[in-house]
Amino acid sequence: MSSQRVQSNWAPAKVVVAVSGLLIALLTAGCGGGAGKLTIGIKYDQPGLSVKNPNGSVSGFDVDVAKYVAEQLGYQPSDIEWVEAPSAQRETLIQNRQVDYIVATYSITDARKEKVAFAGPYFQTGQSLLVRADNTDIVGPESLQNHKKLCSVSGSAPAQRIKDKYPGVQLQQYDTYSACVEALKNGAIDAVTTDAVILAGYAAQSPGAMKIVGQPFSTELYGIGLATDNQELRRKINDAVQKMEDGGAWRAAFDKNLGASGYPAPDPPRIDRYQAGDRSRVQVYGRYRDRILHAFWVTITLTAYSALLAVILGTSPAAMRLSPVPTLRLLGAGYVTVLRNTPLTLILLFCSFGLSQTLGITLADPNSPTSIADSNFRLAVLGLGVYTAAFVCESVRAGVNTVPLGQAEAARSLGFTFTQNLRIVLLPQAFRSVLTPLGSVLIALVKNTTIASAIGVAEAALLMKEMIENTAALLMVGTIFAAGFIVLTLPLGLSVTYLGRRLAVTR
C-alpha cells in the first residue's frame, strides 16, 4: 500500500530510490554479493531481548529477529559478527558504518529518522509498570501518585515522563534497570517503569515473582536501524520481517524468550515502508487524530462544567459584596482577593494534594478503574470553577453598577427588600449587560483548562507535550493545537459579542 503512495505522489523520491538502488546493486556486486561477514549491533544486557551469555553466545528476542533477517539476506549464523550497541551510541555506530544494522530495542522516532533509516517496526510496546506478584494496589500509573516508590534509569525518558505526569510519585533512580529490579525484589521500591517488553524480559528471568500491570501508557515501535542511503537493504529487511511475522517464527521467538513472563504476546505491528524525507505532515495528524479529538473533547467538557460551577459559585460572593451585612461584604471581598491573586497552577495543586490526598475528599469512586482520571477531572473542575468564580463575581458586580440608580430606587420605593431588589431588579439586568465580559471570562476559562495538565488531566496541553516528544514535527503539532484553540475561542467570542448586543438592556 505504501508503495502505491510512493508511485502516485513521490516521483522525485522514486528517482532517488531507483538511483540509490542501482548504486547499491553495483556496489554489492563488486563486493561479491551475500558472501562475507555481517555486523549486527545488539544490546548485551537486556534479559529476554538480547543478552550476552556467560559462554559468549548471544540470545533473546532481538537476537532471534536479527538472525532471522540475516538468514533471509543469505548469511549463515557463523557469518554474523555481534557488536554491542548501547543506547547512546546507536546512531553513531550506523553513521560510521561500524554495523550493517542494529536490533536493540530501538524505538522509531522522527528525531532519529533524521539520522538513520528504520526497517520494521518488528515490535510494538509501551511504557508500563512492573510490580511484585503479590502487589494488588498498583494497577496503573495513576496508582503511583500517592507517594508510591517508582524506579527507572536516571534521566531516561520513561522516568521523566512519570515524574512530570505524576508529581506525587517518589522516583528512585539507578543507573541500570537491573538495579531497579533488585530493589523491587527487596521491597525497597514498589514498581519499575520502562517499556513493557523490557520489563517482561526481567519478569521472565524469575517466573512468578513479578508481574506487569496496567495498560501501556505510551507507544513505542521498535525498528531495525540502518544507514539512510541503503534503501535496497531496507527493503530486504522489511520483507524478511514481514515473512517472520507471517510465518509464525515471530511468535515462536517471542514465546521462547519472553513467554515465561506471563506477558501476553502482542500482535506484530504493521511494517512501515515510509519514504525518507516523506514524513508527511498529514501523517502526524492522522496517527494522533482520535487522541487529539478526545483531548479537545476533554477541554470542552472541562470548560462546560467549570463554567457552570463558576457562575453558580460566583454569583453568591457578588451578592455578598453588595449586601447590607458588613461581615458578608468582608467575606465576599476576601474570597475574591485570595483567589484572584493565587496562581491557578497552585490552586489546582491544592485541589489534588490538599483536598483529595490529605483531607481525603474523594470525588470519584476509589474502586473504579478510572478513579484517578475521574477524580483528576472533577478536582480540575472544582479548581477551575472556584478560581473563575472570583472573576465572574467581579463581572457581575460591575454589571450591577451599570444598572441606573433609578431602577434600584424605584424598587426600594415599591418596598422591595434587598434580596428582592437584587433578585428581581438588579441581577437580571446586570447579567444581560455583562454578557460580553462574562464571555471573555469564559474564553479565558477555555484557555486556562490547559493548566489542568499540571494534575494530569488528559486535555489538549498534555497531549501536545507527548506529541512533541514523540514526533519531530514541532511546527505541525504547534499548529494543530493553536488552531484547535482558535477554533474553540474565536466563534465563542463572536457569538458572545453578538448575544451581548442582542440582549443588552436598551436604555
Binding site: 491573586n341 467581579e394 504547534g478
Partner: protein, 312 residues
C-alpha cells in the same frame, strides 16, 4: 451618596438585629469550617511541628524558595518589559492608517489572545531546544518569557488601544489643526495620555504576569510553585510548602492589586475630564481575558456619564 442608600434602605432596629444575627451565623459558620479543616489536617499530621519547622531554617529559603522567587521575578520583569514594548507597537500598528498593517496587527493580536499561554510556552521551549537558540540552563526561562510576552503584549495592545479610543476626539483634532502628522499625534498627544490613563490596568496586568509565571512549572522552569513542590518532596511536607508559597504569592499580588486601585483612585481625582481611567478595565484585564478591557472602559464611561451606582 453612600451605597447603603441605593440598593437597600438604611437599616432600622429590626434590620440591624437581623444583620447582627446574620453576622453571628456567618462568623460561626466560617470558624466552624476552618476548625473542621484544621482538625482534619491535624488528624493527618499536617500540623505537626516537624512539617512546619523547616520553614524556620535558612537553608530551605536559600536553597529552594529564594531561587524560585528569583525565577518568578526575573521572568515577570523581562516579560512585562518586553510585552509593554511589543504591545504598544501592536496597538500603534492596529490604529495605523495603512490597511495592510492594521489587518496584520489585528490578526496577530487576535491569534495571540486565542492561544493558551501554556501552549505558546511549550512550543517556544521545544523550538528553542531544537534549534539551540539558548543555552540549556536558560531554556525554560526563555520559553516562559516568550509565552508570557506574546500573550500579554496582545492584552496590553488592547488596553492601550482602548485608552486611545477613550480620549476625547478634540485631542487628535487639535493636533491635526496644529499641523502634526499622524505619527506625531500618536507619539506626542495620544499615547502619553492613553498610557497614563491605563496605568492601573497595566499594573494589574503585572499581577497576571506574576501569577502566570507559575505556568512555567510545566516546562521545568524554576519558579515559586515548582520550588514549593521541591520543598514538599524534600521535607515530606507538600501541603505546608504549598500553603507557604500561596501566602507569599497572595501577599505580593494583593499588594500590587491594591497599588492598582490606589493609582486609579488618584488618577480619577486628578482629572475632572471624562478621560476614562477604566477601573473595571483594571479588574477585567486581570482575568487574563481578551476583549474585556475595551468593553469595561465603555462601561465605565457610561457610568461616569449617568452617575450610576458607584463601585465600592
Amino acid at each position: 451618596m453612600s451605597r447603603s442608600t441605593v440598593i437597600y434602605d438604611a437599616p432600622g432596629p429590626r434590620a440591624r438585629l437581623r444583620n447582627r444575627v446574620i453576622t453571628v451565623i456567618t462568623v460561626l459558620a466560617a470558624v466552624g469550617i476552618v476548625a473542621v479543616a484544621l482538625a482534619k489536617l491535624g488528624a493527618k499530621g499536617q500540623l505537626a511541628a516537624a512539617k512546619w519547622e523547616p520553614f524556620t531554617t535558612a537553608n530551605l529559603w536559600r536553597t529552594y524558595i529564594l531561587p524560585g522567587a528569583e525565577g518568578t521575578l526575573t521572568a515577570a520583569a523581562l516579560s512585562i518589559a518586553l510585552a509593554l514594548a511589543l504591545g504598544v507597537a501592536l496597538a500603534v500598528g492596529r490604529m495605523s492608517s495603512g490597511a495592510p498593517i492594521r489587518w496584520l496587527c489585528a490578526a496577530v493580536v487576535e491569534f495571540l489572545r486565542a492561544v493558551p499561554v501554556l501552549i505558546m510556552m511549550i512550543f517556544a521551549y521545544f523550538i528553542y531546544a531544537l534549534h539551540d537558540v539558548f543555552p540549556a540552563t536558560q531554556l525554560a526561562l526563555a520559553g516562559v518569557v516568550t509565552g508570557l510576552t506574546l500573550y500579554n503584549a496582545a492584552v496590553i495592545a488592547e488596553i492601550v488601544r482602548a485608552g486611545v479610543h477613550a480620549l476625547p476626539r478634540g485631542q487628535s483634532e487639535a493636533a491635526a489643526a496644529l499641523g502634526l502628522r499622524r505619527s506625531q499625534t500618536m507619539r506626542l498627544i495620544l499615547l502619553p495620555q492613553a498610557i497614563t490613563a491605563m496605568l492601573p490596568a497595566l499594573v494589574s496586568q503585572l499581577v497576571v504576569v506574576l501569577k502566570d509565571t507559575a505556568i512555567g512549572y510545566q516546562i521545568t522552569f524554576v519558579e515559586m510553585v515548582r520550588q514549593g513542590t521541591v520543598v514538599g518532596s524534600q521535607y515530606g511536607n507538600y501541603l505546608p510548602a504549598l500553603l507557604v508559597i500561596a501566602a507569599l504569592m497572595i501577599t505580593v499580588n494583593a499588594t500590587l492589586s491594591g497599588l492598582a486601585v490606589r493609582l486609579e483612585a488618584r488618577l480619577r481625582r486628578s482629572r475632572r475630564s471624562a478621560v476614562a481611567t477604566a477601573p473595571a478595565a483594571a479588574q477585567a484585564a486581570q482575568i487574563d481575558v481578551p476583549g474585556t478591557a475595551a468593553t469595561a472602559s465603555n462601561t465605565v464611561a457610561g457610568e461616569v456619564a449617568t452617575g450610576q451606582i458607584r463601585p465600592a
